[in-house]
Symmetry: C2
Subunit: 219 residues, 2 copies
DNA sequence: AAGGGCTTACTAAGTACTTAGTAAGTGTGC
DNA sequence: GCACACTTACTAAGTACTTAGTAAGCCCTT
């Protein structure tokens, strides 16, 4: 189990002493996640979250000193791709990419989380959004993970810091994100896992058989 | 030149008689676009748009009968990918895919439009968002366009309604959308055009040399 | 060519409501 | 008896949208 300390710098108001309070806090967090997922950050209100949790608006602010801090707490709570919590003995190379596809497949059963990250990541690019740093860091981390995995999978050796590799990594991350929005709007028209797998395979193929700069002159 | 009639069903308040009024209307539209792009729909206010346009809030509502209708008018105004306005003699097959990449490249110089579509498409999946229908339709159309182009590019003949083809098309659309968010958060870490081109090439290669169901067992 | 009647293009002021956040108080359990 | 976990009561600011009014212009008849 994960310890309770949030990596988040802002201090919480004194909360979490009694067991009941800790449970309440957790419950508010869960409900806030659902609400932010369904309505976005700006359109969700503390009032609505409080109502759903069965407390007053001020009750929510007893546990989280501001709406923005509630959001960052929700985001710290768990990661949509489960990558960061894999730990140091995480899978490498091909196995990592397979893990990505598995995560996408599992996400088909977790619409709430998909919604949360799809909506908030895009909303975060607006002026002064409180989750901007979170997502910037998140993408930086993901980029490194995927780039490394690609290099390992192709057994290129880590000698050359390959720009093509980064482009491919970005494309893989992008395809996962982009599919989420399409899937949320029209679940029956999109097979997230199949499309992701196909894209990763294709990109991997393109990288593998190209030590010389000849190929891929299709366009 | 495009005619002034909006495909949008809702009738506007009687507006646009005099030339000056038409210009004012256009100006409000332009400013609304910027504002929605910078702040999202929910967080943008009529007041802010009005202030920037140098009229009162009610002045804006003279031209657009509601905030929601202002948004749909903005979206009707122009399409980010320029696809719909290609007309019936649009490029086909490979040429169409090349056009997609060109559009992405051009978008690097139009951050406002990228922002508008990236933010709003994700925001639109939230409960009761006024742009939901717009984006649902938009993706449906895009899917058809790209699927057709892929089929033409591979010269598969349109005999079999290929599921793989749809998956690949969705992946291509997704990669373009997903890259936008990454690019908006960290422009220096993302080469939208290069990543898009690489992904399309890779997916195209994967489709071309696979009439039998053997290949792509990498994962 | 002047004036009546109508429309357009707004503004100022308000309605009715929601927002995040605060300050002070209350009841309960240790 | 006192700290914790809240609630009640509130504020100040903002929200979309309405209402009522006005200045200016256009068109048609006389």
């Amino acid at each position: 189990m994960m310890s309770e300390s949030t990596p988040n710098g802002e201090r919480q108001p004194r909360a979490g002493k009694s067991l009941k309070a800790q449970q309440r806090r957790q419950e508010i967090l869960r409900i806030a996640m659902d609400t932010f997922a369904a309505r976005g950050y700006n359109n969700a209100s503390l009032q609505e979250i409080a109502d759903r949790a069965g407390v007053t608006q001020a009750g929510v602010l007893h546990y989280f000193r501001s709406k923005a801090q509630l959001l960052t707490s929700v985001l710290d709570l768990r990661d949509a791709t489960d990558i960061e919590q894999l730990g140091p003995d995480r899978p490498r190379g091909l196995a990592f990419l397979r893990h990505l596809v598995d995560t996408v497949r599992r996400n088909t059963e977790r619409e709430g989380i998909v919604r949360l990250y799809a909506v908030l990541s895009a909303e975060s690019v607006t002026e002064g959004h409180p989750a901007q740093d979170y997502f910037r860091d998140r993408y930086t981390g993901l980029r490194t993970f995927v780039t490394d995995a690609l290099a390992e999978a192709c057994e290129l050796g880590e000698t050359r810091p390959d720009l093509d590799l980064e482009d491919a990594a970005n494309a893989i991350i992008a395809v996962m994100d982009g599919l989420q929005i399409q899937w949320l709007l029209a679940p029956d028209s999109v097979d997230m896992a199949a499309s992701t797998e196909r894209a990763i395979n294709a990109l991997l193929g393109g990288l593998a058989d190209k030590p010389d700069q000849q190929r891929s002159e299709a366009l």
